[in-house]
Symmetry: C2
């Protein structure tokens, strides 16, 4: 997606050889036109997969998942990193390690929002080592549903997330794949 | 907003006299058509306020803020409840007490995403005692910007949030105001 790549180059900040900061348009401030176009791209790619729901994880995946869901006219469901006090029914949970924050957290999802046999499209803003997306896929499979695909806005192609998800049999579609952040420069694949 | 009220009645769950669970359409699973209509209502009401950005707090406010921002064609900025490891520049912070979770948290926002003199529209899914919205307003005022208004999807009219915000001089526009949750029934104002 050219507009996304242009925005990454003009507004992204390379913090280190493994960290790209995109907080001015994706995960702190949100460029709604950009996110809307991303949602449309995901819809074009996944529209024939009989998607029942779009699943993401709070917080940064919510905007793009919602933008995409508008095209599918299907609900978004977002897994929580903390179990809410009002979540009283049965919940699906899985442990995830965050390398960015160097902490573990429990992804939690009410059982009622994924039904057996459904096709669930997983979506997130970033894919690095794939821990969050793998955790979402674990929840989907535990519920007896199927992963219809994985839509990622920015993939760090130099980290193994996509390979790990593909080895589980999932189709990973990333709108921008970064080959390298070396020498303070974004190089796309 | 009639459709919202109908959905609250048909899909909301009264947990107690002060707690309404709306996780099947607003803050765990998201009904994107409903949220889109909510965004349009907020735009209709606030469209003459020269809004520069729409501000919310993660996670439940993001979907409706993004839906509304599409009409304004302005960016969303969401305050974080935990400071991200990649947030390196100057940040605005304020302490907020959550009655729902009975914890305190620090709202954090990068200074670069609110500029002095801007008009900021605050938006959230729920208004009860007004702590989160007041915290957002504190950040806006600390930055030398102005609160253009406060858009709320569901207001608990039996709690003082709206009065507190109005006493600070803000225009609070709620799409559904709940008068009471007594006798396991939702009564609108």
């Amino acid at each position: 997606m050219d507009r996304l790549k242009d925005t990454i180059v003009s507004k992204g900040k390379v913090v280190s050889e493994s960290v790209l900061k995109v907080d001015s348009f994706l995960n702190h401030q949100i460029d709604c036109d950009l996110v809307d176009e991303a949602g449309e791209h995901f819809f074009s790619y996944f529209k024939d997969r009989s998607v029942d729901r779009i699943m993401t994880v709070e917080s940064s995946g919510i905007a793009v998942a919602t933008a995409c869901a508008r095209y599918f006219r299907k609900p978004v469901v977002f897994a929580k990193k903390q179990k809410p006090g009002t979540m009283t029914g049965d919940a699906l949970t899985t442990q995830v390690h965050s390398f960015t924050k160097n902490t573990d957290y429990t992804l939690t999802l009410s059982k009622e929002f994924i039904q057996k046999g459904e096709n669930i499209l997983i979506m997130d803003d970033f894919l690095a080592r794939g821990n969050a997306a793998s955790g979402l896929a674990d929840l989907v499979e535990t519920a007896g549903a199927a992963v219809a695909g994985v839509g990622i806005v920015i993939e760090k192609g130099f980290q193994p997330g996509a390979s790990i998800l593909e080895s589980r049999g999932y189709d990973v579609y990333s709108l921008a794949v970064i080959e390298s952040l070396e020498n303070n420069r974004v190089l796309f694949k």
